[in-house]
């Protein structure tokens, strides 16, 4: 998990006056385009058109951009938490479950209290989501510390449980009677996130994400808590020697990550669906991990990484609609792109095992 990308990779030969990783990146991009071109040709479509539709699908119009931003929001929010956890070597892969619980709690708040003032309404639902995520994550942290169960396992298993909890809730007390799909009743207007740009679907969630990223960066680098987390992540023994409490640091970082994931869930509910629907969190958790690691666990870098994911998705999906390639091809293209970007970034990583 070590991703201290701080130090620049050494320049191998004077001929390469450039950061070697630059070449790698260029190569990776070229390779990526090449591979995807072949795949696209294989289904009888024209790669250039495909690329154009991807680009247009991602950035073609203000509206397209807003979709990408909305898509990126949960990845960024949840990714920030993941990056902090991984920094502290607390391998929390419970993002999906925390998002699900967050969405559930936010919905519950929204459906239980008919608050008129939108600001208060949204605020309280968001807090509900945050609290839910925090509690769910802290629970995982508690089991991990209390019983010494590896955190990866606890969070993984609790993902399954969380998703089933949401299903159960939708099937029983929070579900909409007679709906054709497991979903809650619609949220009232005052519980819907205001639009950032009128006439588009871009809701204010992205602002939360940006602010959170900046705050997280500040916490990590400018506070003694962040320092403690970094030490804790670098060496458990050093953390002990420094007198940090393993319990507090672990629960603390888990709770923070859970809160952010919970907020992401609340935002998906209040900003996208206006209701809780089954499987709304599907895959978000793992994407968030990918985003955080792609960002080399730097909270601020989670923003570009998250946007990369968001726009890659909107773009490739637009391509799927425009030139009718199978969705599987889209997934392949996303996978290939990611692997190549990773390989390119590898050059930035410090070498040496220990």
């Amino acid at each position: 998990m070590s991703a201290d990308i701080g130090q620049p990779a050494r320049i191998r030969s004077p001929l390469l006056a450039v950061h070697p990783s630059t070449w790698r990146t260029i190569f990776a991009m070229a390779a990526g385009l090449g591979v995807t071109a072949l795949l696209i040709l294989s289904v009888g479509a024209d790669p250039l058109t495909a690329y154009r539709t991807i680009a247009l699908g991602a950035f073609g119009s203000l509206e397209r951009v807003t979709y990408g931003l909305n898509r990126a929001t949960p990845y960024i929010l949840c990714g920030i938490g993941v990056s902090l956890c991984f920094r502290a070597k607390v391998i929390n892969i419970g993002g999906e479950g925390q998002i699900a619980i967050g969405g559930l709690c936010a919905t519950w708040v929204a459906l239980t209290w008919p608050i008129a003032n939108p600001a208060i309404a949204i605020g309280s639902a968001a807090l509900g989501g945050i609290a839910g995520g925090m509690i769910w994550a802290s629970l995982a942290g508690g089991i991990h510390l209390g019983r010494g169960v590896n955190e990866v396992l606890v969070t993984l298993l609790m993902n399954f449980i969380a998703v089933l909890l949401v299903a159960e809730a939708l099937h029983s007390w929070i579900g909409e009677i007679g709906a054709g799909f497991p979903q809650s009743p619609m949220l009232t207007a005052n519980y819907r996130l205001p639009k950032l740009i009128a006439g588009t679907d871009l809701h204010i969630g992205i602002l939360f994400a940006l602010v959170a990223a900046i705050l997280a960066n500040i916490v990590l680098w400018c506070t003694s808590l962040g320092f403690a987390w970094r030490i804790f992540g670098e060496s458990r023994m050093a953390a002990r020697y420094a007198g940090f409490s393993r319990g507090r640091l672990t629960i603390g970082v888990m709770a923070l990550a859970g809160g952010l994931a919970g907020l992401a869930g609340a935002i998906e509910v209040m900003g996208i669906h206006y209701r809780l629907i089954e499987g709304f969190s599907k895959g978000f958790g793992f994407n968030a991990i990918a985003v955080a690691l792609l960002a080399a666990l730097k909270p601020w870098a989670v923003i570009p990484a998250g946007l990369f994911f968001g726009f890659l998705e909107t773009g490739t999906q637009a391509m799927q609609r425009q030139i009718g390639v199978p969705s599987s091809l889209v997934i392949v293209i996303q996978g290939v792109t990611m692997l190549l970007v990773l390989a390119a970034m590898g050059g930035l990583r410090p070498k040496g095992g220990s």
């Binding site: 070590s2 201290d4 701080g6 130090q7 680098w221 400018c222 506070t223 003694s224 808590l225 962040g226 320092f227 403690a228 970094r230 030490i231 670098e234 060496s235 023994m237 050093a238 002990r240 020697y241 420094a242 007198g243 940090f244 409490s245």
Partner: protein
């Protein structure tokens, strides 16, 4: 004279640049078969780097190496081993999760493939017994003390065998008797016509064992001569580049009130370690209690228990009158307890973090480093610059990660941090481990100053010299107990030696309580 025979190894113009640091600035080194070459130099002068290059762990920027008439170019440890070069690394290359036997098998390379575990463990036992290194082949390395790990490295090297053996500070963690045994081993190897490169900061050893001595400073050779033409003082000043007065000043102690008191402290033994049984002693303000003992007799446990890293199951610990038996590490730091552990990498230092950050490792949540939880970066920088100049830490900037520092310089950071707190009580374990004479003296100096300023110091070391030089009272640990504590006046080496060996224990409790 060994020097006249055709050289086994010739290194010419070795250059290795680390960023702005010239670790090796064009070094020539010649070693002939059947001779021991001593490599001396301050911390950070480039010894380990040169050796790592020779062994293929690090690639030189330029320079040539000719071994047995063949040029070693772009080679790896595998090639080096193949060519007949062996190395004991300053920072151990051991797999902690594995047993000693498994580590040895690994080190044997392809040769180990055919060997059975049973045979190897037998060999390990034999070898360690023959050289008096006392190792349990089935012990898991992770549970071993530094001293034992050092022995494992030696056994590895001996069993692999090599025509040229590189020993990078092999004695740093050994007790005097172990050192003697190692030296006799080296003599035997030399007699067998093997060549040895011997790195140490202990001039006595070097003069005793080496045929030639090469002195490095700032990555270049500043002196090269037959050892019998050298004197301690001469070498020391050659290394440091200035005169070093050999014996250092120490005013007599003026003990004040008791700052640290242990009453019947007992701790159960952790796997592979020793426990503590019924430890009782006290240290007064302005007093140094130096504790000798063969590594692994509970010194580590004692230090950790006082520092708060191990709960004391039985007994009480008082710091300046307040009972700290059940308080955590942080509280003990706050009440003025400093701790310099033996284990540098990963415990007292975080290698991947910067010098500045490491210097505030244990005070990060206190002023000046942070106010209301906000880190104060200027305080961090000032502190770092201050420490770097005050302790002469060799580093281009306070913002480089400490893993780029030489062993000695790393230790200076730890000492700087723990002294900066102006502690009431200091627990120091092997504080001068791996430090060059200049640095060693510098640090012992600082400890004495701290004592003169009224702190109580517990100095734990397996180096008798140091213990005797430093302690106002001398204690000896054996098998998790205090075998005895005597005042500086009536400390005599043979008696201490007996105690260290568990052959004598002191009966009169009064003397302990004194």
């Amino acid at each position: 004279m060994a020097g006249d025979s055709i050289p086994l190894l010739e290194m010419r113009g070795i250059v290795k640049q680390y960023g702005s640091v010239a670790a090796n600035a064009g070094i020539d080194l010649t070693v002939s078969a059947g001779s021991v070459v001593g490599l001396l130099g301050e911390n950070g002068s480039g010894k380990s780097t040169l050796m790592k290059i020779l062994f293929g762990m690090v690639r030189a920027d330029s320079g040539t190496m000719i071994f047995k008439g063949r040029e070693l170019s772009g080679h790896s440890p595998r090639a080096a081993i193949g060519a007949g070069i062996g190395m004991i690394h300053q920072h151990f290359m051991l797999v902690e999760a594995m047993t000693i036997t498994e580590n040895v098998i690994l080190s044997l390379g392809p040769a180990g493939r055919r060997l059975r575990k049973r045979e190897v463990s037998r060999l390990v036992r034999e070898t360690s017994e023959r050289y008096g290194l006392d190792l349990d082949p089935f012990a898991v390395v992770g549970n071993l003390s530094l001293g034992r790990r050092q022995r494992v490295e030696i056994v590895k090297a001996l069993m692999r065998g090599a025509e040229l053996l590189i020993l990078d500070e092999p004695t740093s963690n050994l007790s005097p008797p172990e050192v003697d045994r190692l030296l006799s081993v080296i003599r035997r190897l030399r007699a067998e016509g093997k060549a040895i490169i011997f790195i140490s900061h202990k001039l006595g050893e070097v003069l005793e064992i080496c045929d030639q001595i090469v002195v490095l400073r700032d990555g270049s050779v500043v002196g090269h001569s037959e050892s019998d033409a050298c004197t301690r003082v001469g070498l020391a000043s050659l290394m440091v580049g200035r005169e070093l007065d050999e014996v250092f000043e120490r005013s007599t102690a003026s003990p004040g009130l008791k700052l640290l008191e242990l009453h019947n402290v007992s701790v159960p033994a952790a796997p592979g370690g020793s426990g503590l049984s019924d430890i009782t002693f006290s240290v007064r303000s302005g007093e140094i209690l130096a504790i000798a003992g063969i590594d692994g007799n509970g010194q580590l446990e004692l230090a950790e228990t006082i520092a708060g890293l191990r709960p004391a199951k039985v007994g009480t610990i008082e710091l300046a009158g307040t009972d700290i038996t059940n308080t955590g590490v942080a509280d003990r730091i706050a009440t003025g307890l400093s701790y310099i552990p033996a284990d540098r990498i990963g415990t007292s230092l975080v290698p991947s973090m910067t010098i500045g950050e490491n210097l505030m490792l244990r005070d990060s949540h206190r002023a000046p480093f942070s106010v209301h939880g906000w880190l104060n970066s200027s305080a961090l920088d000032d502190n770092a610059h201050g420490a770097i100049s005050a302790f002469g830490i060799r580093a281009p900037s306070p913002n480089i990660s400490t893993k780029r520092l030489s062993g000695g310089n790393q230790q200076k950071i730890v000492v700087a941090r723990e002294l900066a707190r102006a502690p009431k009580v200091l627990i120091a374990v092997q504080a001068t481990w791996g430090l060059d004479p200049g640095a060693t003296q510098f640090i012992l100096d600082r400890l004495l100053r701290l004592r003169n300023d009224g702190a109580a110091i517990v100095y734990i070391s397996s180096e008798l010299e140091e213990v005797l030089a430093l302690g106002d009272r001398i204690g000896v640990m054996f098998d998790g107990r205090i075998a005895g504590i005597m005042s500086r006046a009536d400390a005599d080496v043979t008696r201490i030696g007996m105690m260290m060996g568990g052959l004598e224990t002191q009966s009169s409790v009064e003397e302990i309580r004194a």
